[in-house]
Subunit: 153 residues, 3 copies
């Protein structure tokens, strides 16, 4: 089997580029995740995974990641992305949610908090804490925002 | 290399939520795949992989999965998702197909069966059997359907 | 952790099918990647990864892949997909870019080259070479094009 991650961190960033994909790349770099091979996962914090805000991952590593991202080429437009995880009170897994859109940052943070609470209540998991990372950008020419929860070992 | 899966199961489910992503989460839970980290694969049943309808996978595991899903916020709308795999007559790999849309369940099952037959004929693989999982939901407020083939070890 | 890939190849292909997904499957087969379980990565060539144009990967393997793809059901339409990687002068990682659209093949190759140069300049990585794979197809009935950089071990 593929090994289950043991540590995690949350990152977010924004960037501009000449194209939507290079803007996305720039946002990844700004978030500190630009030199990794992110693979998208749906979206569970494994039991006992430890929060490590200083996670250092070698370039080119394959990193399971729950993320939200959005790009825009409309100057002046607001774009935001957020990721959040519900840390359970007890020793069990947690639920991760990701979101993106044209909301202000405080609004998307409120929305994603509600999403984590809804998904945790589906499972009857009482939460000790909700961790959030979000990024907001006003588009200059072509921009992207990214928010991700990186799972690592 | 990443280990090649040895077992598989097919699941499908539907659910409602306050947002498209929590509705998707609810559909995953209904399908029995809500507490996993699904990673999307394109879409081959490895040689000798065994069907195991009672596959039990620990929460937070990273699970290679071929899946189709669709969400809708239009009350009354029908949404369906299906996944199917062609089990080869001989001891070789099989092809997995996924599909989603606004078809009735029996219609999407017919379509996905044809897709598996087409993809198997591309490769000249005679089929012994086609396994299908599908879910249909009439949207109440915000709903999602999911059908996936989970690959495991 | 998931093992970091050590070898890579670039492939591209096109195909027709009765549905967008079987057309995509046909394009994968044409590219020589049809019998694999591709998982999408964002998009770094690991340090010291070796180019191997004759990479032979067993069917059903889980293969980290950066790819672009597009399907169309409009007869006569041109569709193209491209992938490119910047090979660094020095012994470090490289950046992979993918792209798709309705451009002629020489046009998308120019665009993706620029994307790789932009992403490499973000990181201050001088390039020794850019490798590109691209596919172009004029749609007959329902077609797909695919270009991918397969990472392997």
């Amino acid at each position: 089997m593929l090994p289950t991650p043991k540590r995690f961190t949350l990152v977010a960033g924004s960037g501009e580029g000449n194209t939507p994909l290079t803007a996305f790349d720039s946002a990844l770099l700004n978030a500190g995740a630009g030199n990794l091979n992110l693979i998208k996962v749906s979206s569970i914090l494994p039991p006992q995974a430890q929060y490590d805000p200083n996670l250092s991952i070698p370039p080119g590593s394959i990193v399971p990641t729950a993320f939200g991202a959005i790009s825009s080429s409309k100057p002046g437009e607001i774009i935001t992305a957020a990721v959040a995880v519900g840390i359970p009170e007890e020793d069990t897994f947690g639920v991760i949610m990701e979101h993106s859109g044209h909301y202000p940052k405080d609004e998307i943070e409120k929305q994603i908090k509600n999403m984590v609470m809804e998904a945790s209540s589906f499972r009857g998991i009482p939460l000790r804490e909700i961790k959030i990372a979000a990024a907001e950008q006003k588009v200059k020419s072509c921009a992207s925002v990214f928010a991700g929860l990186l799972l690592w070992y």
